[in-house]
C-alpha cells in the first residue's frame, strides 16, 4: 500500500470538499438576503390587501430559540402591606417624575423585588398619582405576561400589582421560529374583523398563558417564544413562534 500517494489523494479530496462546502455556505447566506427582502415586500403587499398595515419595518428572523423555564414568584401580601405602611410620604406638594422613579426603585429594592430583569416600561400620570409599570426581560427578551405596576402618590408607593415569572434557565435544545411575516399571516387568518389593522409593534417575547391551566397552584412553568403583535391602538395578540 503506497501511503504517500494515498495521503496526497486524500488531501486533494478533502481540499476540494472544503472549498465546495465553503462556496455552498456563502452562496446560501447571500441567497437568503435578497429572497428574504423580496419575501418581506410580498408579505407586506399581501397583508395590505387584507387591510393589515405595518408601521415601520418587520424585524429580522430570529435564530433558533430554546424554551425558557420560569418559576412563579408570588408576593406575600402581608409583607408588602407592611412595607407600604413603613414608607414615609414626601412632604412636598409636587414630586417630579424622576423623583417618583427613584422612590419606586428604592422601594422595590427594599422589598427584594428588584433585579436585573426588572425594566421600566412606562410611566403614566393622572393629577397627583403616578402609575409606574415595569416589564420583565431576560437577556434582552421580554417575558410576558409579567409585570410590576406601582401606584405612587405623594412620592410613596400606595399599591403594587405584580405578576412575576422568575427566569430559571433555557431548555436544552433550540428550535426554528416563525418569521415575523409568517406570524402576521397567522394573525390575519385568525382575525374575523372587517376593520383595518394597523400593526404598531411586533416583537419576539417569551410568553405563557396562565389561564390555559386550571388546577392546583403552579410552581414552575415553561414560557415559549411568541411574537407579540401590538395593533390598533394598544390591542395585543401573541402568536406562538415555533414552526411545526
Amino acid at each position: 500500500m503506497d501511503w504517500t500517494k494515498a495521503k496526497t489523494i486524500l488531501i486533494v479530496a478533502l481540499l476540494i470538499t472544503n472549498i465546495f462546502l465553503l462556496c455552498l455556505y456563502f452562496s446560501m447566506k447571500t441567497d437568503n438576503g435578497p429572497t428574504e427582502e423580496r419575501l418581506q415586500a410580498e408579505t407586506i403587499a399581501l397583508l395590505e390587501e387584507k387591510q393589515i398595515y405595518i408601521r415601520g419595518n418587520l424585524p429580522d428572523e430570529h435564530q433558533k430559540m430554546p424554551v425558557l423555564i420560569v418559576e412563579y414568584d408570588r408576593l406575600d401580601p402581608e409583607y408588602i402591606s407592611q412595607k407600604i405602611d413603613e414608607q414615609k410620604p414626601s412632604d412636598e406638594e409636587y414630586v417630579s417624575r424622576e423623583e417618583v422613579l427613584k422612590k419606586t426603585e428604592e422601594f422595590l429594592k427594599d422589598c427584594g423585588l428588584w433585579n436585573k430583569n426588572v425594566v421600566l416600561n412606562k410611566v403614566e400620570q393622572n393629577e397627583d398619582t403616578f402609575i409606574v409599570s415595569y416589564r420583565n426581560e431576560y437577556e434582552g427578551i421580554p417575558i410576558e405576561d409579567s409585570y410590576i405596576i406601582c401606584t405612587v402618590r405623594k412620592g410613596a408607593v400606595k399599591e403594587i400589582d405584580r405578576f412575576w415569572l422568575k427566569p430559571v434557565g433555557y431548555g436544552k435544545s433550540k428550535k426554528a421560529t416563525l418569521s415575523a411575516s409568517a406570524a402576521l399571516i397567522d394573525l390575519m387568518r385568525s382575525k374575523n374583523e372587517r376593520d383595518a389593522i394597523l400593526v404598531e409593534d411586533i416583537k419576539m417575547v417569551y410568553w405563557l398563558d396562565p389561564s390555559d391551566y386550571e388546577g392546583e397552584t403552579a410552581v414552575s412553568d415553561t414560557a415559549l417564544p411568541a411574537w407579540r403583535i401590538t395593533y390598533n391602538e394598544g390591542q395585543i395578540k401573541h402568536v406562538p413562534a415555533y414552526s411545526d
Partner: protein, 490 residues
Amino acid sequence: MGKPKQYIEPVKNLILVVLFFTTMLLLYFFWGNPVLNSFKISDLIGDEAVEVPSYQSVTQPGRIVVHLGGGSYTVLEEEDFNAWQKYIELLQGLNPAEVLSVEEITAEQFDKIMEFRSIVYRFYYDLPQEAFLKRYSIKDIHGIDQIGEFSNFGFSSGSPESLFIYDGSKNKYYRIVSAKAHEEMDKLLSLVESSSNANYRRIGDLTGTANRTVIPIFLSTNMSELKCFPEFEDLNTIAVKEFAQTFFGESLDFVRQIHGSKGTHIYMYGYGEKVLTISASGKVEYKNKETSQSSQQSYFEALDTALQFVAAHGGWQTEEGMEMSPYVRFAKAVENNKQKGYRIIFGMRLRPESLYLESSHSVMVEVIHGQVTQYLRDMVYVEEPEYLKQEGTAKREAFSVINMIAHNYTYIASVLSESGYDFSGLEGEALFDAVSDLVVFVKAGYVKPEYAENKENVLFPAWIVNTGSTLIYFDLYSAEPLGHTDLWEE
C-alpha cells in the same frame, strides 16, 4: 533533495488532520446542532417490541353462571374448562343452512328455559352485533340482524338445539334454533356439574324477592390486605420523562411543562390541545382535544386502537411487581362534537381476583374516530412474594353476602340516591327489597379506597357490589363500607 523530503510526510499528515477537522466543522455549521442531539440509538435499532394483548384475551364475559338445577348455581372463572372459547367456537361453527330460525322470545320464556341445567355468559357491557359477528368471523345467519347488541349468551339443556342471546340495549331475548342439538355444550355442563361446588344462589331465593342475580352463600378464602405501590412514585425520574415523551414525539424540550404546588406535573402542547397530567400519586390523565380527521370506527376497531395506544404509552404491565391480566370491564358508546366513539374501562386481574380503584380506573381509554381523546392510567403494582404469602395463611370465612347487603342497605340506598335513584317513601324491608333488586353482581376482589386512614397504598380484600353503573365496596370480612365508584363520572 533529501532533507526537505523527510519533512514532507509529517507535514502531509498534519495537513490531512487539519483538513479533516475543517471538513467536520463546516458540516457542523452547515446543518447545525440538531444533528447530534436528535441522533438516538432507538432510531437505528427501533423501539423495543411492546406486548399488546389481543382483543380476544381482553373480551371475556364478566361472569359465567352455570345453573346446576333446583336454583343451585356455580360460577366459572375465565380459564375454567375453556367455557367461553367453546361457546365462541359453537357460534363460529354455525352453518346458516342448518339454522332454522332466529326468533324473539319473552323474558319469562328465557327464565323458564334457564331453569334447566344451563349456562349464561354475562357481559356487563354491550357488544355491537355487526362488529361482533365480523370480528369473530361468525357467518351471516338470516334473522340475526334483528339483534342489536350482544350482552348475554346462553345455552340450556332444556332446549339443546338453541343458543340464547340477550340484547341489553333493547332489553330483549332471542334464540337461535339449529337443526341439531349442541352436544358440546351439554358435555360442558356435565363436566362442570361433576367437578364444581354449587355454592351460589339467587338473591331472590334468599330474600323472597325476584332478583335472579346469583351470589355465593359462603366464601372461604385467604385473601388479605396487600401492600401496593404506585407506578410512578417520583415524578422527577428519567422513566417518567420517557413516559411523557411518548405523547409528544421525540423530545419534551419544546413542550410546556408546569409543576404544581402539590407535586403534579403537567405537559401541555399547543394551546392545551394535548395535555398530559401526572399527579404526585402517580395517576396519569391525557386529553387530546384535536378533532380527528379519520373516519368512525367499529367497537373492535376502537378496542384495537386502545390496546395499541396503551402498549405504546406506558405499556400494559408495570415495570415492577407481579404480572396482571387486563380485560375489558365496561364499555359504552360516546359522542363528542358530533363524532362517535367508545369509552372503554379496563380492569386488571391479579390472579383470579380483580383490582378496583375507588377514585379511578387502572386504564380507561376513549377513542373517537380512531383518535385517543382521553387516556386515564392509574396503575399500581403488588410484589409477587407478598401476594403469594397469602396462600400460606389459614382460610377464613368471608362475611355473608346477603347479610352484607342487609347490614348496609341504607348506605347503598344513599349512594344510589346520588346517582338519581329515588327511594322516597321506602324504608325497612321495603327499602332493602328495592336495593337488593338492583344488584347486578357481587364479586370478591381487591380495592384501593380513595382515603384510608393510616393505610395509604393498601389493597383491601372486599366484596364488590355492582348496581349497573355504580360499584360499591365492602370489607370482605367485616362488611364495613369502603367506598364507591360511579363508573361513568367525568
